[in-house]
């Protein structure tokens, strides 16, 4: 009997599926669940200023009063009362890898972070569970006036006012239930400030590793790219797989000033027990440019829609993303664009691949306000299904409130074209290779936007394993 052909194996997570025991001696954990005493305990641990403590409590109230979304993937199995919202390694944040505790250092060594830092990054922040354990920025970058530090240090130091002015203003806690949760229990994350006119030639990166079973990670990233400045920021994340749910409800707030440029690249590879309820938002001033590059490969359930507010005239945004959903995954991803300024433009290009019963939903929203005259929008989403067990939906909404705009959208869904396979085979390429080439080509528009090392990682994630007919 012939074996069923597959053209793409599931994501190879063996690289990421390792873990270390977290003893009480080395780690501090709050009890599971969420209530006022836990929020106050976290606030106390972090030595919050009064305004932040009060803010956390306000967020807790909003969280308790807000319902879960009634659209999107089912999250009824996520029991917040079983989640441990704060797990702290009993170590200080280090500026050298040698000073990081052995197990934690080994974790990041296996993930290739120190090597990447040496070879191709301007700075790295490494978060383990709820706290940053390593943060460093190259001297030459710091000398340009670039600030890249953990958010909590910034909140207590010379940037305290800047943090207070911006923290959760772009993503208010009323946005949705898990934004409110984030506001109540956030911990870790980075603050980046790039001064006027400074071009950071090589990327900064943050890497988030959630090691503890049944825990949540709620890091907050705040980036301000000042007028005329330029930055590429990379974010990576992973976790070992457990039989209990983990939760990621991080928040990313990006401010792109006049004529500035920010590229934000993410490779998300959470384990398949993770509920990834992340919120990312950017606001772009006049002439500014925002680029998102997003690869989503992990999580059991994802709700992820990076949003860009094109506030200034002639601001623009490009979103390039790929989502791969396999067995046991329900990934609801997409993007949102809000046009406010005149002559703004946005481009969304996404690819999705679903396999082995994976469920993939592309969900987007484009809003062109009355004031956004002269705006242009292009949305393109392609979906590839590799078997009939899987599912793929596209739900792109458009709300246009001016006649002076140009909005176009197109989407295609289907399987690997038999004609394309036949064509390649007629040129001497085997069927298995032909399928592999087509899937790789399908993902190429996203992988080519990533720095080379991460494109390689992404291609490794989409490991192609062909099983031919026997």
């Amino acid at each position: 009997m012939a074996e069923e052909k597959t053209s793409v194996a599931d994501i190879d997570r063996s690289l990421y599926d390792f873990r270390y025991e977290e003893s009480d001696a080395d780690f501090y954990k709050v009890r599971n669940g969420i209530d006022e005493s836990i929020v106050l305990r976290i606030s106390e641990e972090k030595k919050d200023p009064d305004w932040m403590r009060d803010f956390r409590l306000k967020c807790l109230k909003i969280f308790n009063e807000t319902k879960e979304p009634d659209w999107g993937p089912d999250i009824r199995d996520l029991d917040i009362q079983k989640i441990v919202t704060y797990v702290k390694p009993k170590t200080q944040m280090a500026a050298k890898w040698a000073d990081v505790p052995e197990d934690i250092k080994n974790t990041f060594e296996k993930l290739g972070i120190p090597e990447a830092e040496r070879e191709s990054l301007a700075g790295v922040g490494a978060q383990y569970d709820s706290e940053l354990v390593y943060h460093n920025v190259k001297d030459e970058v710091a000398a340009q006036g670039v600030v890249y530090t953990d958010l909590e240090s910034a909140m207590h130091g010379e940037y305290a006012d800047m943090i207070k002015e911006h923290f959760m203003h772009l993503v208010p806690p009323t946005d949705h239930k898990f934004a409110a949760l984030h506001g109540a229990v956030w911990s870790g994350g980075s603050f980046v400030y790039v001064p006027k006119g400074v071009h950071v030639k090589i990327p900064l990166q943050s890497y988030f590793r959630l090691n503890a079973a049944g825990a949540g990670q709620f890091e907050h990233t705040l980036i301000i790219v000042d007028e005329g400045a330029d930055l590429h920021f990379i974010e990576g994340c992973s976790a070992p797989k457990y039989n209990v749910a983990n939760l990621h409800a991080g928040c990313v707030e990006l401010y792109v000033a006049k004529n500035a440029h920010l590229r934000y690249s993410t490779i998300e590879n959470w384990s398949k027990n993770m509920y990834n309820l992340n919120t990312k938002r950017a606001i772009v001033e006049e002439g500014g440019k925002m680029e998102w590059v997003s690869g989503s490969f992990g999580s059991h359930v994802s709700y992820l829609y990076p949003t860009t507010i094109l506030k200034g005239d002639k601001s623009l945004c490009e979103f390039t993303g790929i989502t791969f959903s396999g067995k046991g995954q329900d990934l609801d991803t997409g993007a949102k664009m809000i046009h406010i300024g005149k002559n703004t433009s946005s481009v969304i290009g996404t690819k999705s691949i679903s396999k082995s019963g994976g469920k993939n939903t592309y969900r987007s929203s484009v809003i062109v306000n009355k004031s956004a005259t002269g705006s242009k929008v292009s949305v393109n989403c392609d979906s590839l299904m590799l078997d009939s067990e899987s599912n793929s939906d596209t739900i792109p909404a458009m709300n246009i409130m001016t006649d002076d705009c140009d909005v176009g959208h197109e989407a295609k869904i289907g399987r690997i074209s038999n004609k394309a396979i036949f064509y390649l085979m007629s040129r001497g390429i085997s069927e298995d290779e032909a399928r592999a080439m087509i899937v790789s080509g399908f993902a190429n528009p996203v992988s080519k936007e990533l720095p080379l090392e991460y494109a390689v990682e992404m291609n490794n994630l989409i490991q192609l394993e062909m099983k031919g007919t026997l």
């Binding site: 979906s383 299904m385 599912n391 739900i395 792109p396 909404a397 006649d403 140009d406 959208h409 289907g414």
Partner: protein, 365 residues
């Protein structure tokens, strides 16, 4: 004579099969209308079509339940109105093997009329038929006007349905439609929505049979502060089914429009194809256009595509026309006429097509 029990319906309708962000206000429309009477129409038909009036319990729709795309809850309210008032369904049967049969129903509601008409078409095997439904009134008239149409296309049957709304500016209009398409059968819907203050159209096609097909097109011009709410869904269930749907629309003044188009590839519909397209011309700064083109896919071996384009008259087109002595206003009128004509050309009734043209040009019918 039995007193009519009127029904005021205030309901969510045209629900999108999934839900998306509520703040977009696109998941459904909201209708408010009062029904106080059964609609009346003039009929012309060919002899191969039998017309009977039946109570719901005796109609074929009892055994072949079809929920229209305006929604189950709305359908139930219509059922209740029918039952309470002992109103009937007008059931049209196209006999097996009969070709090129046609029926024309002309509705001319009076000023203030608040009526609902329940129609059902059963096209038996190997038949072909065209049903033209037109609703007209002077521009100053107002009221409520509703139609429910359920179509069963049996094996190898071909049914064309045309609905034209040329009602007055004060009307709340709804047409709630459903079709069930069997093996090798085909249903084709053509709609022209020009009249009414608030208009709702919901169409659900269920392509149940092998090689079942549906095709369709909609033209609308929504102006002043009028509203149009559209919900088209095709459930493709059988193997090798095909669906296609095109919308050509124009929005003027302070008009608002919500358009939802869903292609649903149900598991098992191997080798099926579905395509939908919406093209909207915006001709005033205060319009509001909402579009939600959706593909739901549970089957690998299909081809689905959709596209939407929204915008104003292109500069190149305008320049070309102006260089030939056509003013900007005239160019807009030309484009509006062209969009409507691209759909009305599928109407095999020259008199009705002329009425559409006159309506678009703002001339008395």
């Amino acid at each position: 004579m039995k007193e009519i029990i009127e029904k005021t319906i205030s309901s969510e309708v045209n629900q999108f099969p999934r839900l998306t962000w509520h703040h977009l206000h696109i998941n459904h429309g909201n209708i408010n209308c009062t029904l106080t009477d059964h609609g009346t129409y003039r009929i012309k038909r060919t002899l191969g079509v039998e017309v009977l009036e039946k109570y719901a319990g005796h109609s074929f729709v009892k055994d072949v339940p079809m929920i229209t795309q305006m929604g189950k809850a709305f359908d139930q309210k219509l059922d209740a109105f029918q039952k309470e008032n002992e109103f009937v369904i007008s059931e049209f049967t196209v006999e097996a093997g009969k070709k090129d049969e046609s029926v024309k129903l002309s509705f001319s509601p009076k000023d203030g009329e608040q009526s609902f008409t329940d129609l059902a078409i059963r096209a038996k095997e190997n038949s072909s038929s065209t049903f033209i439904l037109s609703a007209e009134s002077p521009a100053a008239f107002s009221g409520s006007f509703g139609i429910r149409l359920r179509v069963l296309a049996e094996a190898n049957a071909l049914v064309k349905v045309i609905f034209v709304n040329l009602l007055g500016k004060g009307f709340t209009v709804f047409d709630a439609n459903a079709s069930l398409v069997m093996d090798n059968a085909s249903v084709d819907f053509t709609q022209v929505q020009l009249g009414g203050k608030s208009s709702f159209t919901g169409v659900r096609h269920t392509l149940s049979g092998y090689r079942a097909q549906n095709s369709g097109r909609l033209a609308y011009v929504t102006a002043e502060n009028n509203e149009l709410d559209v919900n088209y869904v095709t459930h493709q269930i059988g193997k090798e089914t095909e669906s296609s749907f095109v919308t050509e629309g124009v929005l003027l003044d302070q008009a608002k429009k919500s358009w939802r188009g869903t292609i649903d590839f149900v598991k098992g519909c191997v080798d099926s194809k579905g395509n939908e397209n919406e093209n909207v011309l915006l001709l005033a700064p205060a319009v509001v256009n909402k579009s939600l083109p959706v593909i739901l896919c549970d089957e690998e071996a299909v081809e689905g595509s959709h596209g939407t384009s929204v915008g104003k008259l292109g500069k190149e087109v305008l320049f070309y026309l102006q260089s030939r002595g056509v003013s900007a206003k005239e160019a807009e009128r030309l484009m509006i006429s062209a969009k409507v004509a691209s759909v009305s050309r599928f109407i095999p009734d020259s008199e009705l097509v002329q009425k559409i043209q006159s309506f678009v040009e703002g001339e008395p019918a």
